[in-house]
């Protein structure tokens, strides 16, 4: 009973808002909404979504963005955490910037990346100054590009500190005793890391990277600022459909939202299973 009362407020919010929203979206995606006179559910919205070539291109692009960003940021975050747990000159500054970066909203980061990496951005200007390029089009296309490099750079920038802070906290609570033991038993630095430290910090890395994956798979404003016009990331596509003045596109947007939810959950399931096996095996 006590547990029930403790959980009640949080569960009500999650169930009503989150699952409620999901349910309404689901009903709407089947064109079923008795309140506004839609009583004959059908699959037309899903048919429309799954027969649209852009949907598949968008899905592949979004998956590529989320997967690549998550893997790169996780690996670099582990490296950064290893660096930051030792003391060295300037560690305090890096530590502070690390946390500072956590507070900077993605939207600001995306705009900053645009100014840095566009073909006439800061790096292109430096390249021109040093005589490496003569005109903007000589500079590689890193934003609005088909490989979403700008988007991935933004996520990597923003997520290294997020994952890193969590790993650092884990490392500190674990301490260095296990590693000292391993080293004294003759394990190399790499072996100590691979077989002692990594499995210990792994749960933290995994849950942080799951959050990163889900976020990068579902974020709207970053691909909207840095992404190519076609194909657009799935959330951008869903939002475009939702704000289409043709009301018929709304169930399609809902269907796409449901597909995003399912895909995101399924991919995370496999991601967790696979990476657990890799690290423990």
């Amino acid at each position: 009973m006590k547990i029930f009362l403790l959980l009640l407020p949080a569960m009500s919010i999650i169930v009503l808002l989150f699952f409620g929203g999901l349910l309404i979206g689901l009903m709407r995606s089947f064109n079923y909404m008795p309140v506004i006179g839609l009583t004959d559910p059908d699959f037309s919205a899903y048919v429309a979504v799954f027969t649209d070539r852009e949907f598949y291109l968008s899905f592949m692009l979004t998956f590529h963005i989320a997967f690549t960003s998550t893997v790169i940021s996780s690996i670099l975050a582990i490296g950064a955490a290893l660096l930051l747990r030792r003391s060295f000159a300037g560690r305090a500054i890096v530590n502070f910037l690390f946390q500072l970066n956590l507070t900077v909203p993605h939207l600001v980061g995306a705009i900053g990346m645009l100014y840095l990496f566009s073909q006439s951005g800061s790096f292109a200007r430096l390249a021109a100054e040093w005589g490496m390029i003569t005109k903007p089009s000589d500079f590689p296309a890193l934003v609005f590009d088909p490989y979403a490099i700008g988007i991935i750079l933004q996520y990597v920038w923003k997520e290294i500190p997020f994952i890193g802070v969590i790993i650092l906290a884990n490392m500190q609570s674990i301490g260095e005793d296990y590693e000292s033991v391993a080293r004294s038993l003759g394990a190399s630095k790499w072996q100590t890391f691979r077989y002692v430290l990594l499995p210990l910090i792994f749960p933290g890395v995994l849950s942080a990277s799951v959050m990163v994956f889900a976020f990068t798979f579902g974020a709207y404003e970053i691909p909207a600022i840095l992404g190519a016009n076609f194909p657009a990331a799935l959330p951008v596509l869903a939002y475009r459909k939702y704000t289409d003045v043709d009301l018929a596109a709304r169930p399609e947007a809902m269907a796409m939202a449901i597909v995003i939810a399912i895909l995101s959950a399924v991919m995370i399931y496999f991601y967790v299973r696979y990476s657990r096996r890799r690290v423990r095996g």
Binding site: I3, F18, P136, S173, M211, I268
Partner: protein, 273 residues
């Protein structure tokens, strides 16, 4: 600790420098743009400097300052609500074993796994019929979806290492339930509340699409203003609003930074999934 070889140490320092540069890099052009008037390729620095963007940002017309307070208000409200609701839930999940616990955990974590855009479209149509769309309260409510899981996660981590024996002692010495909570429980879980609250605040602070849809353009938070100017090519004003937008987060970080690192274990709650 044995002495590190010079090579290793200089490698460390070098990587540290690269990391520092990388972390602040995207903010630099933003800051320069806010003082620039016309800054074209291939100029490394603007030829003309100007305070125009800042004047506009601080003018009544732009609404930036009103929007700053509104955004702070919304994020604080979402944070406080997350704390009020998340602390009990974290206690239940961190301290007790019960049937269906895994299902409850999964449900609470679901919003961190399922992207917001997938739920907000459905919520939007419900809120319209409830009259909650275009209201500040509606926006605060919808911000709870992404903020609450962070709060519960952190608190579950804290309560997992929490010893309820102290509470029992206080009660047996005659302290009221409220006094026990205030003098015993609260100080013990404070680091978690601070870290969870910080995350909740930051998550709410950076919401764009949830606010845009539920607020219907009427609840104008800073990211909405920023997006308007960023997509209209006014890089100077974008730069100024961007600088204003990141300031509160930095202030809050300075106030709470010591809890983020250190051995409080609050952040460690994220290892719970």
């Amino acid at each position: 600790m044995h002495q590190e070889p010079v090579l290793t140490r200089s490698f460390r320092v070098l990587t540290g420098i690269v990391l520092i540069t990388w972390l602040i890099l995207p903010l630099i052009p933003l800051a320069i743009w806010s003082f620039a008037k016309g800054w074209f390729f291939p100029d490394i620095l603007p030829k003309t400097w100007s305070l125009r963007a800042w004047e506009y940002a601080f003018s009544d017309t732009s609404g930036v300052i009103d929007s700053l307070w509104l955004t702070i208000g919304i994020s604080l409200a979402a944070t406080v609500l997350s704390i009020l609701v998340g602390v009990p839930a974290g206690r239940a999940l961190g301290m007790y074993k019960f049937r269906g616990k895994e299902a409850v955990e999964l449900m609470i974590l679901a919003p961190t796994i399922v992207p917001g855009i997938a739920v907000v479209l459905g919520i939007h149509s419900v809120f319209i019929s409830m009259g909650l769309n275009n209201t500040v309260f509606g926006v605060i409510l919808v911000h709870l979806i992404p903020t609450l899981p962070y709060m519960v996660l952190v608190m579950a981590g804290i309560f997992a290492n929490y010893d309820p024996a102290f509470e029992a002692q206080a009660r047996s010495l005659g302290a009221s339930a409220f006094k026990t909570f205030w003098y015993v429980t609260l100080p013990a879980i404070m680091p978690g509340i601070i870290v969870g609250g910080l995350f909740a605040f930051l998550v709410s602070w950076s919401q764009y699409i949830l606010t845009l849809l539920i607020g219907g353009g009427r609840v104008v938070t800073l990211p909405l203003l920023l997006f308007n100017f960023a997509t209209s090519g006014r890089n100077d004003i974008t730069g100024a609003i961007g600088m204003i937008y990141i300031l509160p987060g930095i202030i809050i970080l300075i106030l709470t930074a010591k809890h983020l690192s250190g051995r409080s274990g609050a952040v460690g709650g994220f290892g719970q999934i």
